[in-house]
């Protein structure tokens, strides 16, 4: 079924940037397989891509959605309690992350932004490692090669080029894995993202551009970034695109599987616009009441990605007490492990600051490290040695 209910509708016409892309092209339609009410609706093209998803697997997708929402809630709580410096909530975007990440093969490689912590969970990143960087204990939480996922990118859009280059490498190697890159609606304005699409199209590289259009880039609405629907931009680069209901885990899975298959078999890049909504603040430091309407939030709450799968399971008679208990127990266990891993994480040592700047010794830095260790040693109480107020 094609529907437009998740479109960028209802936006007032006005000056430049105020008329939200309503114009033509493939983007007029939105692929949806589960309605917000939890009804499985058939789709002539995309049903086939998720035909093999059994009831049991649907149950696991539901579990994933619940678990990453719980990770998000727990991390937000940890930030409020002072255990994390900052956290970028993914609330509302669970289906986009689970539907895509659960479509990947182990040997595919992910280049994401800071918000895809649910994707990191799917890749098997250790729970404490997911929050390590937000606790300020490292610049990155994990070794990218152990999970085939680069650590989150903060420079908006930069990762799309990295994915494209990685895909060029896959191509040269004659392998059939795929690089997938996640970025936001705001990111599509950056030169890097546009240049990545030029390269990917030119070399027909096996890369999937996964744009999570959550309608906001901090305080800026998507209409400021794009005068047309974001998915429609891809055509200008010669890249096929699809606009999918990003709150529908099955539809996202179908779209991602199609794109991955195309890439694996020499069909080049695909652009996926997952239409979703950032239900929380940009980060825990943000106050969205300054710039957005509470009504908008209500509209999107009605399209919740978890509620609709729950509805579908219920219709299918799969939502048993036993099943719900299993999911709840799993979410509880994950939250406990995350919290424990976070608060017991060992602090870095002062001289760690000099580590890994270079792969081999560097004479400038060695001298600075030597001097700083002498400096620290000159204090009876080293704790005071690095406070702004001083110890003397």
């Amino acid at each position: 079924m094609f529907t437009d209910e998740l479109g960028q509708g209802g936006i007032p016409a006005g000056g430049p940037g105020d008329s939200a892309g309503h114009h033509g092209g493939a983007g007029e339609s939105l692929v949806q397989l589960i309605t917000p009410g939890g009804e499985r609706v058939s789709h002539p093209q995309y049903d086939a891509w998720v035909q093999d998803v059994s009831d049991e697997q649907l149950g696991f997708l539901y579990e994933d959605l619940v678990v990453i929402r719980r990770i998000d809630t727990e991390a937000t709580a940890l930030q409020r309690q002072g255990e994390l410096g900052l956290w970028p909530p993914l609330l509302g975007q669970e289906a986009a992350q689970i539907g895509s990440a659960r479509s990947l093969r182990d040997d595919d490689f992910v280049f994401s932004s800071y918000r895809e912590n649910g994707v990191a969970y799917c890749r098997g990143v250790d729970l404490a490692d997911i929050v390590k960087v937000w606790r300020g204990n490292a610049s990155a939480g994990w070794d990218p090669y152990t999970v085939n996922m680069a650590t989150p990118q903060i420079i908006i859009g930069a990762q799309t080029l990295h994915a494209t280059g990685y895909a060029m490498g896959i191509q040269n190697d004659g392998a059939d894995s795929v690089a997938i890159t996640y970025f936001g609606d705001g990111a599509t304005s950056e030169g890097d993202v546009n240049e990545a699409m030029v390269f990917a199209a030119s070399f027909q590289s096996p890369v999937v551009f996964f744009c999570s259009n959550n309608h906001w880039a901090i305080s800026e609405p998507v209409r400021l970034q794009s005068h047309i629907r974001i998915a429609d931009r891809a055509a200008g680069f010669g890249i096929p695109s699809i606009r999918v209901d990003g709150n529908d885990v099955l539809a996202v899975m179908a779209a991602t599987r199609e794109a991955l298959e195309r890439a694996r078999h020499g069909g080049g890049p695909t652009f996926i616009e997952a239409v979703t909504y950032r239900m929380g603040p940009h980060t825990t430091a943000d106050d969205p009441t300054r710039y957005r309407d509470a009504n908008e939030l209500e509209d999107w709450a009605a399209k919740d990605p978890i509620a609709r799968v729950k509805g579908l399971l219920e219709r299918k008679g799969l939502l048993t007490g036993q099943f719900e208990a299993r999911v709840a127990a799993k979410a509880d266990a994950v939250a406990r492990e995350l919290r424990a891993g976070c608060i017991t994480m060992p602090d870095p040592e002062p001289l760690d600051i000099f580590k890994h700047v270079y792969s081999t010794p560097n004479s400038w830095l060695d001298r600075q490290e030597d001097h700083y260790s002498r400096y620290l040693a000159s204090f009876g109480d080293p704790a005071g040695a690095h406070s702004e107020e001083g110890a003397r």
Binding site: G15, G85, L86, Y114, V133, W134, R135, G136, N137, A138, S139, I154, I155, I156, G186, A187, S189, E190, G191, D192, A217, I218, S219, E220, L224, Q225, A285, R290, Y291, D347, P348, P350, D352, I353, F354, V357, W364, L365, Q368, H371, Y372, R374, Y375, A377, S378, F379, G384, A385, H386, S387, E388, E389, G390, A391, R392
Partner: protein
């Protein structure tokens, strides 16, 4: 005189510039409705409209490049870069265009662009949010570079920067945004101390301590602590990083014979190197000791659990002062 925060003082300076010159136009990410992530532009879009205070799409190179076009057209753009680490996508436009167009056109085209950059660390942020990139710009001919250390200067100097017909990189110490100070909003920026001049903020006779931006406060605190130990430190707020007001520094060093310079940015190729060399050239025979630098390390800005080690602290500055004075210090016994 009014008590106000650093951020408010800049806001009020921006407001004056918007009021006084219809060609002044503010551009940046989240500066309109939100008022900027640090609220420095709070309320300005509401009062001056969307055409004067512009929320731009998320693209720094485009912000800077279109600022160039607006300047060609006679506008005076004031660009906000959200955080120091996000200036690099705009680097090409700044270095290759903004800095060179006046020279390229033999003075026919002016580039009165102000680039506001919240910079420096100390707020516990993730990567790319705490950098001190000023030396890239002080190294670039055609740019003026300033940094402010207190609300009054912030208020006055932002207006001077906007009024300048040359491009100005304006570095705001983000960890001091909430610090309060007395601000006299009636001061006329045209007759106030020029933004090109350094200022002696604490007089002393034993050592000259040069700082700018966030570390001026730390340097002043260090001078107070040193006084307790019987050492008289003269603190200079550099204010202008390019060009440096060497005359003021020279006069001080001729008096004290000793120089310490501190910045958060890494040491190698930093502003401290330029100041130390130039002062050595200018008053070698007045120096009693080699100039001392107390800086961040030559490492990418570290994750927040370690940033207090990276940032020059009061004690590290005092240790540097001891070195300049030949008093016992952490490097005693080492050669140079």
């Amino acid at each position: 005189m009014t008590q106000m925060t650093f951020a408010r003082a800049i806001n009020s300076g921006l407001r004056k510039s918007l009021e006084n010159d219809p060609k002044v136009i503010l551009m940046g990410e989240d500066i309109g409705t939100l008022g900027g992530v640090f609220r420095v532009t709070d309320g300005l879009q509401k009062d001056f409209g969307k055409h004067r205070v512009v929320d731009t799409p998320l693209a720094e190179s485009a912000i800077m490049g279109t600022a160039v076009g607006l300047a060609y057209r006679g506008y005076r753009p004031v660009v906000e870069i959200q955080f120091d680490g996000f200036v690099y996508p705009a680097f090409d436009q700044i270095v290759s265009q903004v800095a060179k167009i006046h020279y390229r056109t033999q003075g026919a085209v002016k580039m009165p662009i102000t680039v506001r950059i919240p910079f420096g660390g100390g707020i516990g942020s993730p990567e790319h949010h705490s950098e001190s990139p000023e030396a890239y710009f002080t190294h670039t001919s055609g740019l003026r570079v300033v940094s402010v250390s207190n609300p009054q200067d912030a208020h006055t100097m932002i207006q001077q920067a906007i009024a300048s017909d040359d491009p100005v990189l304006f570095f705001e110490p983000k960890r001091r945004y909430h610090d309060k100070g007395e601000v006299d909003e009636s001061i006329d920026p045209a007759t106030a101390l020029s933004m090109e001049k350094a200022r002696v903020v604490a007089e002393g006779k034993d050592v000259t301590l040069v700082a700018y931006g966030p570390l001026v406060k730390t340097a002043k605190d260090a001078a107070v602590a040193a006084a307790d130990e019987g050492v008289s430190v003269e603190v200079i707020d550099l204010r202008s990083l390019a060009p440096v007001d060497f005359a003021t520094l020279e006069a001080s060093v001729r008096k004290t014979g000793r120089l310490v310079i501190t910045h958060e940015a890494g040491q190698s190729g930093g502003l401290g190197a330029e100041v130390a060399t130039s002062i050595t050239e200018r008053c070698f025979y007045h120096l009693e000791a080699a100039p001392v630098r107390v800086t961040g390390f030559d490492v990418p800005y570290p994750y927040s659990k370690l940033e207090s080690h990276h940032l020059p602290s009061l004690d590290r500055i005092l240790d540097g002062v001891d070195r300049a004075l030949g008093r016992p210090n952490s490097l005693s016994g080492l050669e140079g």
